[in-house]
């Protein structure tokens, strides 16, 4: 769900967000989902050194689908954006955890720690399939 969608914050959410540094919490009205995720993950420990992720997802604000989805070192999804589209937020999930969030070019969450980003293998067949699926969703 992107920031352009309707994303109301509950009282509980607001309480969580209030724990964040004020300059980050102030972005909650514009980027409620990203800032709530930031709040939820704020106290998490960074990934251990040499942590090798199984599942990597990179989301940007303008799409429900991940731009990149890597599973066990294999590129599963590749959904690039039109060049003219402005990316206002980026969310990186590693093994289902929020590892990195940036909003308007500003990093608000970084739990990457000592992570080792995997070499990515690309299966042309999967790539073409993913691209065509992305085209059809346009």
């Amino acid at each position: 769900m992107s920031s352009s969608n309707f994303y109301p914050l509950s009282d509980y959410d607001r309480k969580q967000i209030a724990k964040l540094p004020p300059d980050i919490a102030a972005l909650a009205d514009k980027y409620p989902s990203e800032i709530l995720n930031t709040a939820d993950s704020w106290d998490n420990l960074p990934f251990d050194a040499n942590y090798l992720p199984e599942c990597l997802e990179v989301y940007s604000s303008d799409a429900d689908d991940a731009n990149i989805f890597v599973l066990n070192g294999v590129l599963k999804d590749y959904v690039p954006s039109h060049a003219e589209k402005n990316t206002s937020s980026i969310t990186v999930m590693i093994d289902g955890e929020f590892a990195y969030i940036e909003v308007e070019g500003r990093q608000v969450l970084n739990k990457l720690g000592g992570i080792v980003l995997p070499e990515v293998a690309i299966n042309p067949e999967l790539l073409i399939q993913s691209i065509i699926k992305g085209e059809n969703n346009d």
Partner: protein, 415 residues
């Protein structure tokens, strides 16, 4: 537009589904020794859509009927679910599904048989797959070509011919589809280079994202070129071959028609020829008969003519002799003795003359009519009739002489 009543019903439905799903999650969590009092978090893609504990009002609920439906599918029929859904209990991720693939299922929520079972309903897009499809078309084409070749040996009936034509047309359509698929793939691949991944501020991430993007573009470019190099000529060749085959079949059909037409023409020609021959023969026979008859008639006619001529000549011959004797008698009675010893007499129509035994009768124009007892062939019927009278003049004169002699004899007796 959904009416309020319907909307409420749908909402009740999905709330029921949601409650049973939450109960399932709680029950399974309890089984696995997880703390059921901790909040359950449900994420759709990167957004949290639910947070709550069973039996309590949730602290967050942005679940829509669509998401609930998808969640239900993720737990009952994972391979047909869409997008990404993840479930956490407290901070522990217990379930994660993406694109129909169950990535994490610590509670055993999804049906066991379908776990980690990737069944793709997607059409396969790859140079290899496209090549295989083209190869299938090629082999089909080859078997069709055999059929087309057998056509030349006239082993095909008109029915199988039209069936074959339909098959080739069908293959043409398949090829068009294939071509479309290849073009779409090429288009998609070429568009990869016009699209970009977002720029990430974090250098490590950006390096990684950038390298993935570069790798993807390189792969896409290679695939695109391979499609161009390997597949396009094949497809072009196939298209040509199919077009040729169509032409061959059409030619065969045309030949068949020509053959039938030719046969018909031949039969007609033969028939005409036979009729012509028969007519000719009849005409010849008729003509023969006619000629024979004509010739016979001609023969008869010429025979008659000959006879007539002979007869006429004989009559003339006889007549000539008779007339000559009459003329001799006439000249004896009425002829004038000429100094050359000849005798002559001139009537109104003829000049008669005798020298020795030679008698000649001339018409008034000097043309001889009778010479040496032979009538001239030019003698006319009128002249013949006039000549006939010569004898009667002679006869009349002799009668007068006889009468005079008898009178003098009787006078002598009386004395």
């Amino acid at each position: 537009m959904i009416e309020d009543g319907e909307a409420n019903e749908i909402k009740r439905d999905y709330l029921d589904i949601l409650e049973s799903l939450l109960k399932l999650i709680h029950a399974k969590a309890k089984e696995k020794g997880l703390d059921p009092t901790k909040d359950v978090h449900i994420y759709s893609s990167s957004s949290k859509v639910y947070q709550g504990t069973l039996g309590e009002s949730p602290s967050k609920n942005l679940l829509t009927p669509t998401i609930v439906e998808n969640l239900k599918k993720a737990l009952s029929d994972p391979k047909n679910s869409q997008g990404a859904i993840s479930i956490k209990i407290g901070h522990e991720k217990v379930f994660h599904i993406k694109n129909g693939e169950v990535l994490t299922d610590k509670l055993g929520l999804a049906p066991r048989s379908q776990k980690n079972e990737v069944v793709s309903n997607e059409r396969i897009y790859s140079v290899e797959a496209l090549q295989k499809q083209v190869a299938v078309l090629q082999s089909k084409l080859e078997s069709q070509q055999k059929l087309v070749d057998s056509l030349k040996k006239n082993e095909q009936t008109p029915e199988s011919l039209s069936e074959l034509a339909a098959q080739v047309a069908e293959m043409g359509k398949s090829l068009e589809k294939q071509q479309q698929l290849i073009e779409n793939t090429q288009k998609a691949l070429s568009q990869v280079n016009e699209r970009f991944l977002p720029q990430v501020q974090n250098t490590v991430l950006q390096n990684w994202v950038g390298s993935v993007e570069r790798q993807v573009k390189k792969t896409a470019k290679n695939a695109f070129e391979r499609l161009l190099d390997a597949l396009t000529p094949e497809v072009t060749k196939l298209r040509k071959e199919i077009a040729q085959m169509k032409a061959q079949i059409e030619q065969q059909v045309t030949n068949r028609l020509d053959e039938v037409r030719e046969n018909t023409d031949n039969i007609r020609d033969e028939l005409n020829q036979q009729i012509g021959n028969l007519t000719q023969e009849l005409r010849t026979q008729v003509d023969g008969v006619k000629n024979t008859v004509d010739q016979s008639l001609m023969g008869v006619k010429s025979a008659i003519d000959n006879t007539r001529t002979e007869l006429r000549d004989a009559v003339k011959d006889v007549k000539g002799k008779v007339v000559e004797e009459s003329v001799k008698a006439l000249l004896n009675i009425l002829g004038t003795n000429n100094p050359d010893g000849s005798k002559s007499f001139k009537s109104t129509t003829f000049d008669f003359e005798r020298l020795g035994d030679n008698v000649i009768v001339r018409a008034k124009n000097g043309e001889p009519v009778l010479t040496d007892g032979v009538l001239s062939p030019n003698v006319s019927d009128q002249q013949l009739q006039a000549l006939d009278k010569v004898q009667s003049v002679v006869d009349m004169h002799r009668q007068l002489e006889n009468n005079a002699q008898q009178n003098s004899e009787s006078r002598g007796i009386k004395r």
